[in-house]
């Protein structure tokens, strides 16, 4: 069974040691385990464990969030290449930094975790207009638009989340497409997400992945 690997993989993730994590996975592969088993029984439970741990771990820092999310995404990507048939994805999210905002790193944590949880991520990069968010979500059949904003003025701007909300309303898409937000300003004011018309928010990138998966399930049970 994979049990022997789970502990050393979880240890490597906790230590943010990407090479060690890859070594464990490669060893499991050469011992005959399938890439599918590795993703669903090793990688995904590790991401879920990490989500629980990070909420409780007072010592966990943002640097560790970045590294753990990156390990999850990298390992998943390597395993997906080896899948015998493409896995069933649980949903799709369009993610990007708000109009006028060039901070791209925050959403990296979210994307990394989402990918390893079998969510398709369409990353539009930074400085994304509300139209582009909504247009892409429509053509890509995404269930969630996730808008990251690291500055108060890009979080509250009419061209950011508020603009996305207005377009969703205008086009009658509010039942099909949910809006999630994240970034520093929302941590300072936990009610801010309501003001900017979002359905949900998360205080950090790892939790954000969980919040987005929940939103996908609301739309696509």
């Amino acid at each position: 069974m994979l049990d022997a690997y789970i502990q050393s993989y979880n240890q490597a993730v906790f230590e943010t040691d990407k090479q060690a994590a890859l070594d464990v996975v490669n060893q499991a592969l050469s011992d005959g385990f399938s890439p599918e088993d590795i993703v669903f029984k090793l990688v995904i439970p590790a991401v879920e464990l990490m989500m629980t741990l990070i909420e409780k771990d007072p010592d966990a820092n943002l640097a560790q969030h970045f590294m753990t999310a990156q390990i999850a995404a990298d390992v998943t990507e390597k395993m997906l290449e080896k899948f015998s048939k493409p896995p069933e994805m649980i949903g799709r999210v369009v993610i990007g930094a708000a109009y006028g905002d060039l901070h791209s790193l925050g959403k990296r944590i979210v994307s990394g975790c989402l990918k390893s949880l079998m969510v398709d991520v369409v990353d539009l990069g930074t400085n994304v207009s509300a139209e582009k968010f909504v247009d892409t979500a429509m053509t890509e059949n995404a269930q969630v638009i996730a808008v990251s904003a690291m500055m108060v003025h890009t979080a509250t701007s009419e061209k950011g989340s508020l603009g996305v909300r207005a377009l969703l309303q205008e086009r009658g898409l509010e039942q099909q497409i949910k809006l999630a937000v994240g970034g520093a300003p929302y941590r300072f004011d936990p009610e801010l997400y309501i003001q900017v018309g979002a359905d949900a928010w998360a205080p950090d990138g790892v939790t954000a992945a969980k919040v987005i998966v929940d939103l996908i399930r609301e739309v696509k049970p």
Binding site: F14, E15, A63, M151, H153
Partner: protein
Amino acid sequence: MTTIAPNAGQTASPASDMLATVSSDEQTLRVMLKPHLSVRQVLDATDLRVRAACGGLGTCGACLIQTVSGEFNPPTLAERQKLLPEDLANGMRLACQLRAYSDCELYLENPAPHSAWKSLDPTQLYQASGNPAISEHVYGVAVDLGTTHIRLSVWNRQSGRRIGTRYSINPQVAHGADVLTRLDAERLDVQDCLRIGQQAREAIMDGIRDILSRDMGEITPVLAALGKVLIVGNTAMLTLICGNSGDSLYQPENWQSPIACQPTDADAWRQIWRTPHADIDIAQPLAGFIGSDLLADLLATGITEQSQPMLLADFGTNTEIAVWDGTNLWASSVPGGPAFEGVGMRNGLTAEAGAICKVSASGLQTIGDAQARGYCASGFIDAIALLLDKKHLKPSGRFAEPPTEQGFLLQADMPKSAIFASDIDIFQRAKASTAAAMAQLLALAGLKVNELDRLWICGSFGQHLDLNSAFRVGLLPTLPSERISLLANASLAGCEQLLLNPAGPNLLNDIVQRARTINLGGVFEYENRFIDNLRLQPMPIGEYE
């Protein structure tokens, strides 16, 4: 000060540094006396300055100091003219004439009133040859306006003599409003912008007046004969000191393009400064996120006149990085965050008295041997390296044993030696963004680390930096130490060259023409490099070789 007071005893002066214990009624300081510097010159770089009203020539007699023990140079002619024989016999001396021949104790009954201004070591600054063509308004001022520090020097442009140098904290930091952090987090309102700009102007004039009063003994006539003030700095500070709001800096389209920084009210500015003839000139930044302080660094180091590849990093609130491949220049900047200037960390300090500046297995060392009040960047980097070596800290940035609410005490009886998990996090992200930027610019230039002929570390950050610690935590690429140069006041030195060297503006223009500004926010591989560099370990060599 560049001028060394004439001294009859100079030929007999000893070659090694002497330890001086200097006391006032308020404080006691331990300083190393350099053989080529007078006691006044050494104290001018500390919190305990002597009173002074001349340039250290022994003509004002204000810098009285009592020798308590130790061997000194014999009294100079100036001292015999200014001091009574019985005072001399009782060990009273003029600090500007005094040099120690042995470790010694000194007592300062009337120190200068407390001031934030200190002198800089001029040895690495610009050497000017003078310009006889300047016949009126001969004085000039060079200013490096940083987010946390202001450095400046006053010159006689005609003779090429530096009258004095000073540095101090930028008042916007002292008032708890780190401008770059706030520009990032929220939009400053117009009033805040104007206030920060005005404070910077007042601070610069305060520094100029400190030099004039202490190093020349007169202020008003010199201000009237001040012909030029040249300011280099980061784009945010230059925008604010010109009297503009920071608004233009928020527009992403401005980040990579030149931003014009011109004073909106030059006449009013001159009037408030009482410098009617001063041409107040702002060296234009390279782009919205790359200031003219980086250009000044490049001038001072002369990198772009070399044929070998070199890398320059100026660590600060924003860390600016340039790679030169022998023909072209790649430049960018990344948020160093406050980590490199000691501001914002729980026990962070700038490099000032009481800052822990060196940490080794044998103990902690503070600046001025004063009681520890926290870490400056170099001490913090040493501490992280030591914690890693002792396995108290893991490469992930986690402590092996979670510290208590008091933090991890590097020295059990010293609360100010505490290090917190959040400090480590801030540092990891700052060092990763810097290391990733270096790697990315090198990749764009098609260069590898081991092809670098020289790595220049500019900014006061490098002053106390232990290179091995910097290698250990992955802040700098591991290079032989003889290929690394530390130049603490490079921006000011470059600004001085721009002020005084008639060829300076052309050299600067040449640098600007060859520069490509890179906005790393738009470079996808940069993000991967950032994450790869978050671990506390020597930089991944594979990527660089």
